[in-house]
Amino acid sequence: MKDHVRGSKTRREMESKVELTVDGIRFRVPERSSVAAAILGSRVLHPTGWTPLCGIGVCWGCRATINGQTNSRSCLVTVTSGMRVQTELVAGPGEEP
């Protein structure tokens, strides 16, 4: 059935994974995932004050520091290998050196 084909295709795509570090915890997620999807789907992470809502970059609830860039909307960023993410809120805008 069509649905079955779609399902198996997704699984095949899921096989290639990338590793990233979120709040000091290293884990692997399917490549092409968004950072927000990766964090939300994890059963090991327990971010506080990180409250994604819209998933499309409107609400900024999923903002995180991604590779040093503060206040990045993690739902709009695709994971890359070795990416470092912090979910805690950093006071004030700007970039880390």
Partner: protein, 413 residues
């Protein structure tokens, strides 16, 4: 001062409406630039799924490339001057005419616990699943209103989620009236999608749990019911993205940009298409877009296209009627329920004010990162506060981006 018009038409927004507008204008000999905030074209409805292009989008994207439309993806508009001068995060864009296709966002109504992790919008969980969120064997409750609830329920099941309840706030009577206008096939589809977990006159009362959502209480007619769940997806309909239309001086009627038969707004040289001039879905957006594409090329849209566009507009009116929010939904927030999520401002702090601006000044409601995109809509719905003017930059922008975008984009290679 003379400004070189680098493009004939600038299309802002790369969903179905924007793509159709850009394709039609470019195929009619306009030099077109398409600016889109997402890293990939398609908007919300034609969103890529882990890199796979939506099947309905494929022919349109092909035409877009063939027609030679210049595309700026992942680009936010920071400032705009009518009719077509834009400061974007990828540089300055200048065009003789603008077609606004900025789409819509979800509207939210606050209820206790709506700020817990795992409480997502229905569109949000859909977008996140498409971008890799694993919902296999996760328990999901879906609550709110509109056709999107059923569509998302179906998609979540496809991804292995356990959808425990679909709570639709509208009444069965209204839903029946709405279905009567749809074709038989659509009704059958709706019934299949709905199944026995679907309830009408049902809505969320409270999300339960600690930091993360663990359950939900729902109102179901006269009774309440509780579910344990891993995700709660809520959706209370869509509302147009009006920031850019307002910045360009377009008149807004109700919640939507006012347009004439050729999609012209009240601002000279600015057209608007798709959800931004009234929620009606992707088919309506495509028809709007094509009409505006012709109009921007100084051509009359074919009569058949205009008929189609008008039919879809009427569908939009029926949609609004069928899924009108019931008054009970506006009384869900408790005194300590956050209204502004960014700045954590509670209902009791905001409620005493009489308008949006004074609430902002005194409480910081609406002054956080989202710049009132969530609580602005919420307070409009709860208290009837109107939108105030918009000021640049339209999105929070790092200073180095502002500094680097003061010059016109470089010559094309």
């Amino acid at each position: 001062m003379t400004i070189t018009n680098r493009y004939d038409v600038a299309v802002i927004g790369g969903g179905p409406a924007g793509i159709a507008a850009a394709v039609t204008a470019a195929e009619n000999r306009c030099k077109v630039v398409l600016v889109d905030e997402s890293p990939r074209l398609g908007g919300q409805i034609w969103r890529e799924r882990l890199g796979t292009v939506h099947s309905a989008a494929r022919p349109w994207l092909q035409r877009l490339h063939q027609a030679g439309v210049k595309i700026f993806s992942g680009t936010s508009v920071l400032h705009a001057k009518p009719p077509g001068e834009f400061l974007t995060s990828s540089g300055r864009v200048v065009a003789k005419k603008t077609i606004l296709a900025c789409g819509a966002r979800e509207q939210f109504l606050p209820f206790p616990g709506w700020t817990k992790i795992g409480v997502l919008s229905v569109g949000g969980i859909q977008a996140l699943v498409h971008s890799g969120l694993d919902v296999k064997n996760r328990r999901v409750v879906i609550a709110g209103t509109g056709p999107l609830l059923l569509q998302v329920a179906w998609q979540l099941r496809q991804h292995g989620a356990l959808v425990l309840r679909i709570a639709e706030q509208t009444s069965l009577t209204k839903l029946r009236q709405f279905s009567a206008h749809l074709g038989f096939r659509k009704i059958m589809q709706a019934i299949t999608l709905a199944n026995y977990r679907f309830r009408t006159s049902a809505w969320p009362l409270e999300a339960l749990g600690g930091d993360r959502v663990e359950g939900v209480n729902l109102q179901q007619g006269q009774q309440t019911e509780s579910f344990s769940c891993d995700f709660l997806a809520v959706g209370f309909g869509l509302t147009p993205n009006l920031e850019l239309p307002l910045a360009l001086g377009c008149q807004v009627l109700g919640n939507a940009v006012r347009v004439d038969d050729h999609q012209n707004t009240t601002s000279e040289g600015v057209l608007a298409v798709g959800e931004v001039c009234g929620i009606k879905g992707a088919w309506g957006a495509l028809a709007d877009g094509a009409c505006a594409g012709y109009a921007a090329a100084d051509l009359s849209p074919p009569p058949k296209l205009i008929q189609k566009r008008d039919r879809e507009r009427r569908f939009g009116f029926r949609l609004a009627e069928a899924f009108e929010l019931r008054p009970e939904l506006r009384t869900l927030a408790q005194p300590c329920t956050p209204i502004c999520r960014c700045e954590n401002v509670a209902f009791q702090s905001v409620a005493p004010f009489s308008d949006w601006n004074s609430a902002k000044l005194k409480t910081r409601c609406g002054m956080g990162l989202c710049q009132g995109r969530i609580c602005g809509d919420t307070t409009r719905s709860l208290f009837g506060w109107g939108p105030s003017g918009v000021r640049p930059p339209l999105a929070p922008t790092p200073i180095h981006t502002l500094l680097s975008t003061t010059t016109l984009e470089g010559p094309e290679s």
